[in-house]
């Protein structure tokens, strides 16, 4: 029955093939156009280029930091929601989804308005005489993390919630009936069962974090340049498609390696909320 209707996905597949796979391949092929050897030589040079290495390191470090923060903030929220009766969850979910309906750019500029020297936070603190000079809140890795966590948090909550909601309350209750304290029941029953959701959220956020562009460009300082900004410079300002492509290959390879490592420990399907 399922087999017979599999043609239903054909239009979507065709669309993705034409609109995504083909252009991506053309882009990635760019450095190898002249010859395969020269392409690999260029890739080798790009890998050892100190400035590229630093930007890659910043990119991975930032993605890691925001992933950890968003998951730490999201886990208790997702836990709370998953223990609520399902008819009450809707309005909370609406609140969680709400930021996703606002443009990422608007939200990033809102952070500038809040965090800048003459911004809401500094002027409030100064008028309350708590500080005499504004605190530098903007243009550092901290402001980048704040902005990115805010954007990624809904994804963290929703991914973890979808796994947690499938964990029967009865299991923890049984543990408690058998003498476990609520804390013990959580650590031994609930947490292990929620791990697929936790790891899926980590991977999803990390990969999304790697590709951030506007937020670090606007909220970060000079050391916070992420690979997205570098790729944009190569294309828009220099018209250097080959370097942009090499950086994209490096980013893509890192993402594929991560997915591979993840698949050794957990099922990739966990990344998709619906498949629980």
């Amino acid at each position: 029955m399922l087999r017979k209707s599999s043609w239903l996905i054909a239009p979507c597949l065709a669309y993705m093939l034409v609109m995504y796979v083909t252009p991506a391949l053309i882009m990635l092929y760019s450095p190898f156009q002249i010859s395969v050897e020269s392409g690999f030589t260029a890739l080798g040079e790009a890998l050892v280029e100190p400035s590229y290495q630093r930007v890659m390191m910043t990119t991975f470090r930032t993605a890691l930091v925001v992933t950890v923060l968003a998951v730490l903030l999201g886990y208790p929220t997702a836990y709370y929601l998953s223990r609520l009766p399902s008819e009450k969850v809707g309005k909370y979910m609406l609140l969680i989804m709400f930021p996703l309906w606002t443009s990422l750019l608007v939200r990033t500029y809102a952070w500038i308005a809040l965090l800048q020297d003459s911004g809401v936070i500094n002027s409030t603190l100064m008028s309350a005489n708590l500080i005499s000079n504004p605190i530098r809140l903007l243009y550092n890795s901290g402001s980048v993390a704040i902005g990115m966590v805010q954007i990624l948090l809904p994804y963290a909550i929703i991914t973890m919630y979808s796994v947690m909601v499938g964990i029967k309350p009865r299991l923890s209750q049984t543990a408690q009936v058998l003498g476990a304290s609520p804390t013990r029941a959580f650590w031994h029953i609930f947490l292990p069962l929620s791990l697929p959701g936790l790891s899926a959220a980590c991977l999803l956020l990390f990969i999304m974090g790697l590709g951030f562009f506007v937020t670090p460009a606007l909220l970060g300082g000079r050391r916070d340049m992420m690979v997205g900004t570098l790729i944009q410079q190569q294309v828009v300002l220099l018209g250097d498609w080959d370097s942009a492509s090499l950086l994209s290959i490096m980013l893509l390879a890192a993402t594929i390696i991560l997915l591979f490592v993840y698949s050794r420990f957990a099922r990739l399907e966990n990344l998709v909320p619906a498949s629980k």
Binding site: E49, P50, S51, R54, V55, T58, L105, Q116, D117, S118, G119, R136, L138, Y139, V214, A217, L218, G220, G221, R222, R223, M225, T229, L230, Q232, Q233, Q234, V235, V236, L237, L238, G239, D240, W241
Partner: protein, 350 residues
């Protein structure tokens, strides 16, 4: 990077055109005879507004040719179009460095100087592949609330004892390397070839004071206006827009680094005739004067200078200001661009 693109009055955007085309397909009965069009790529922001009012609208009225503006001028996009063989832009309005790159890449069509009047233009700017738009500059900026005695040179801009406050600079090497060399006391006529060792020594000195490196023109004046920095750098058109909006931002003309904007036509453009007509229209002194009046730039045609609106003269450099500026050397940049960018982003992330 253009973060915000604004729909400009009187010109319709590409997406509107696509929507219109879709509508026309659905309602064939309402479609009129094919109207001649010309697609123009401009830089968006203040420039796009000035061009819409001073060039696109009057040109449409006079010629009956519809102007479609795309506010994402970028050499990368021009190259991509050229590679794909589907050249959407006809006129590509861009800065001198992009013109040098585009000429090297052979993606431009020669200007038809039989259609475009050469009269009054100096030979350096009336090029084979480019007709001059206006001249702008990268200037020192300052917050007028925080700084009462603005710096008179890059050396003073660099002086952290005299101005012990945060700075902002652009995140690419163009103009920053020149400013760095000038800050060490090198005279304006000895800047090129840029002494890279000296430039980076100077950049190292100022780096701890730089709060951030701006990426878009909007940011450059915003950071000064909101007091995140007291001294900065910005393009003159952005400073003019900020001044007109009453923001506490002002410029210093001394040692400004002057650039030339150009009109070019893409090789493979679908409406080359209309493109040349538009550029010919743009060479008229009254059109150039209107654009320059709005942006505080300098028109390429000297005749246009006499037609500048009196209220706009204060945004323009006076002859004595101009004598203190320097011209960006595009020849040096076009051969050193890729290396300079790599080295600069290496320095930036250090």
């Amino acid at each position: 990077m253009k973060l915000f693109t604004k729909q400009v009055k009187g010109s319709i955007t590409l997406s509107a055109l696509i929507a219109g085309a879709a509508g026309a397909l659905l309602l064939p009965a309402t479609s009129a005879a094919a109207q001649e069009t010309v697609v123009v790529a401009d830089a968006g922001g203040a420039q796009a507004e000035a061009l819409a009012a001073a060039l696109y609208e009057p040109f449409e009225k006079e010629s009956g040719i519809k102007v479609i503006a795309d506010h994402t001028t970028a050499i990368g996009k021009a190259q991509a179009m050229s590679r794909s063989g589907n050249v959407v832009w006809d006129v590509f309005i861009t800065g001198d460095t992009d013109v040098a790159l585009a000429t090297q890449n052979d993606i431009l069509m020669p200007i038809d100087w039989n259609v475009v009047p050469k009269e009054g233009l100096s030979p350096e700017v009336a090029q084979t592949y480019a007709a001059p738009s206006s001249r702008y500059a990268l200037v020192m900026t300052y917050n007028t609330n925080l700084i009462k005695d603005p710096p008179k040179s890059w050396a003073e801009w660099w002086d952290t004892t005299k101005y012990n406050c945060p700075r902002v600079m652009r995140n690419v090497p163009i103009d920053n390397l020149e400013a760095a060399v000038l800050s060490s006391g090198v005279p304006v006529d000895k800047v090129y070839p840029v002494d890279l060792k000296l430039a980076y020594e100077q950049l190292d000195k100022i780096q701890p004071k730089v709060v951030t490196f701006w990426d878009s023109g909007a940011q450059s004046v915003q950071l000064i206006a909101d007091g995140s920095a007291c001294l900065g750098t910005a393009w003159t058109s952005r400073v003019t827009a900020a001044e007109k909006a009453g923001q506490p931002v002002a410029r210093v003309w001394n040692q400004a680094i002057v650039h030339q904007d150009y009109f070019t036509v893409m090789k493979g453009a679908k409406n080359p005739k209309a493109a040349m007509q538009l550029i010919a229209f743009a060479m008229r002194p009254e059109v150039q004067a209107k654009i320059a009046s709005r942006l505080g730039t300098l028109p390429a045609n000297p005749k246009a200078q006499d037609l500048i609106e009196p209220a706009s003269l204060k945004y323009q450099p006076k002859p004595e200001d101009l004598s203190k500026t320097m011209l960006s050397n595009i020849g040096w940049w076009s051969t050193n661009m890729a290396d300079a960018y790599k080295k600069y982003s290496g320095w930036l992330t250090k």
